[in-house]
Amino acid sequence: MSQILFEIPKVEIMGSGHLACPGCGATMAMRYALKALGRKTVVVIPACCWSIIDGAAPYSVLGVPVFHTAFETAASTATGIKAGFVAQGKTDINVLAWAGDGGTFDIGFQSLSGAAERNEDIIYVCYDNEAYMNTGIQRSSATPQGAWTTTTPVQNPKSRPKKNIVDALAAHHIPYIATASVSYPDDFIRKLRKAKSMKGMRFLHILSPCPPGWKSQAEDSVKIARLAVECCVFPLYEVHDGRRYNLTHKPKGLPVKEYLKLQGRFRHLSDADIEKIQTEVDHNWRTLQRRVEFSTEIDTRSDVSDQGATK
């Protein structure tokens, strides 16, 4: 009787009983990622929600080795783990750095940049819930403009736009960058599988809804993440070699208000504020489209990453 819309691998490497809040996007993301990468994977988790979600020691909800590490060290520890394996002849293990937006955009940015510049053979996933959620919703450089957090109260919401982490990583000319959404599991898994098939630094940016932090309903997590895509707030695309851009999903181009209105963190925004955000989103979307268009003109022989080839 089944009418499958899309198939995802049956294997469950993440188990039940974890400590995530109901409706947690980061948890869905981990589940998909491990389905795509399989059991020959080691996960490196710096300080972030997942430090808690994985469970209270001496237990772990993940069926792969997990290494908890310091806040700013996801990329560097992952680098070392990969090097350790390679040094011992174990070259087929995926090393997955799994960091939040704080650990990626902010405190871990240096080690991430270093690893990216060296083109370390790791997969770095940033599950971005757009604030320091684990510490109680403080703004990060991933917090979008206009959003409420406990350190950007409604009287003075975040005035600066979100850091464009994909652009920042693209500037490192790494072989593969992709955005992915928990609401498009097939696209998500396809990208992680693609990442798995490549060598060198692979970076995935995942928008990860956080019901407590976004002041949204747990049941709406998938809907909100989908609206982020369809409103062009968070388009789904890939960047190869830091320069060749392609879209993996054509958004419907819904008004950004559709996305904002399901989240309490944006409730204080006036129509004028929303219009401003819309303008910013439109601009970013046009920029991305131009890059996609221009990408067809780029000769792949000019790729600069030395290890980007498929394994």
Partner: protein, 403 residues
């Protein structure tokens, strides 16, 4: 002087165990030790005067003399984080740093120790800024007192090499990381003859690293997960126990090293001419070598002066110190470091150690040679004379501060 050299020649250059004698700087002695230990991963960031260690190692890796993954990271913090990862896979790893670099690592030094990863690191003791100063001073490493790292202080380039090999053996046995400290320039950039032991003997002394738990996809486990108060304290207790075990094992490891390679640099401490000594100077690092000469001079004059060299700051050799001071009347501790608001750091540790001893000799704390200022035989002679004349112990005596 002649005696020291003869002793050294005897001790250091055993032709049966030596592959080669090289006249090299301390930094290169460290590089050779890492190579002999067959390290699998190296990660480092440049800082004077450590840099020559990893420069030579990069050459060794590039030439294929050393089969290791060398990750040239963008900071010391990343260097240590990187090795934490590598070591967790079961790969023996090595790094070197100094001064500011060591301070930047501080957070992850705790991580390495509490994750029970026996990484070995050479720290070239260098003064801290500001103002900029690249010369020797121990405050950088002593500030890492509570990180859970075993700390050795070397007196010679040979001791640097030998201690690194022993550090792997010891650290891997007790699952704690080890830091080997050498003085900036006095060792790091001073060429000395160094016996490079034969690789097969080193291999015998130091078997491959095979930890019981590693990041293993066939035995998946989470390392360092959220631990509640009901278990956390036991993990801390275990680290302390490991330190105590290390204290117990250090003499054994030293003996085994002596047995196989034919060299012994002492245990947690080394006593020099302490037989019947009434006065005792306590030193660490290169000041020790200078002090040996002064002790010889005093002995030649019939003054019962002895020397206690501290080799390990962590675990701290409380018992060895209590034993050494059992029969002396006066002790002078020479510190090339300062804990602001208190005094010399070795002094304070020794003072604490002897509190529970049966006898309480007079105890003076001397701070000398900060930021690379020379501690010459005459400086030490002054200290010894001051000690001998002292009527009452004094915690902090500055040596050579210009008025």
């Amino acid at each position: 002087m002649k005696r020291v050299l003869e002793a050294q020649l005897d001790k250091y250059f055993n032709p049966q165990t030596t592959a080669e004698i090289k006249v090299i700087e301390g930094t290169h002695a460290a590089s050779h030790a890492a190579k002999l230990a067959r390290v699998k991963t190296i990660s480092a960031y440049p800082i004077t005067p450590q840099t020559s260690i990893v420069e030579l190692l990069s050459e060794m890796c590039a030439s294929g003399d050393l089969e290791a993954q060398f990750i040239k990271v963008e900071s010391e913090h990343s260097a240590m984080a990187c090795l934490i990862g590598a070591e967790a896979t079961g790969a023996r790893s090595f790094t070197a740093t100094s001064s500011q670099g060591l301070l930047l690592m501080h957070e992850v030094l705790h991580w390495a120790a509490a994750a029970r990863l026996p990484i070995v690191m050479v720290n070239v003791n260098r003064a801290l800024a500001p103002p900029w100063n690249i010369w020797t001073d121990q405050t950088d490493s002593l500030a890492q007192r509570d990180t859970g790292w075993i700390q050795f202080y070397a007196e010679s380039n040979q001791e640097v090499l030998d201690t690194i090999l022993m550090a792997y053996r010891l650290g891997e046995q007790v699952m704690l990381p080890v830091m080997i400290n050498m003085d900036a320039f006095f060792l790091s950039h001073t060429a000395e003859p160094v016996a490079i032991p034969k690789q097969n003997l080193v291999d015998e002394f130091l078997p491959a690293y095979r930890p019981e738990f590693t990041l293993d996809v066939n035995d998946p486990r989470a390392f360092g997960g959220l631990t509640k108060p009901d278990r956390y304290m036991e993990f801390r207790y275990n680290i302390q126990k490991a330190m105590e075990t290390a204290a117990r094992l250090i003499p054994t490891v030293a003996e085994e090293y002596d047995y196989l390679i034919g060299r012994h640099h002492g245990t947690q401490v080394e006593e020099y001419r302490t037989e019947d000594a009434e006065y005792l100077l306590v030193t660490s690092g290169t000041i020790t070598g200078t002090t040996r000469i002064v002790v010889d001079q005093f002995r030649d004059q019939g003054v019962p002066l002895g020397l206690l060299k501290i080799r390990t700051f962590r675990p701290f050799p409380d018992q060895a110190i209590r034993n050494a001071v059992a029969h002396v009347k006066k002790i002078g501790v020479i510190d090339r470091n300062i804990s602001f608001g208190s005094g010399g750091i070795f002094f304070n540790e020794i003072k604490a150690a002897i509190y529970n001893a049966k006898v309480h000799p007079l105890l003076n704390g001397y701070v000398a040679g900060l930021g690379g200022r020379d501690v010459t035989p005459s400086v030490i002679t002054d200290i010894a004379e001051h000690l001998i004349k002292s009527k009452q112990g004094k915690d902090l005596i500055w040596i050579g501060v210009k008025k």
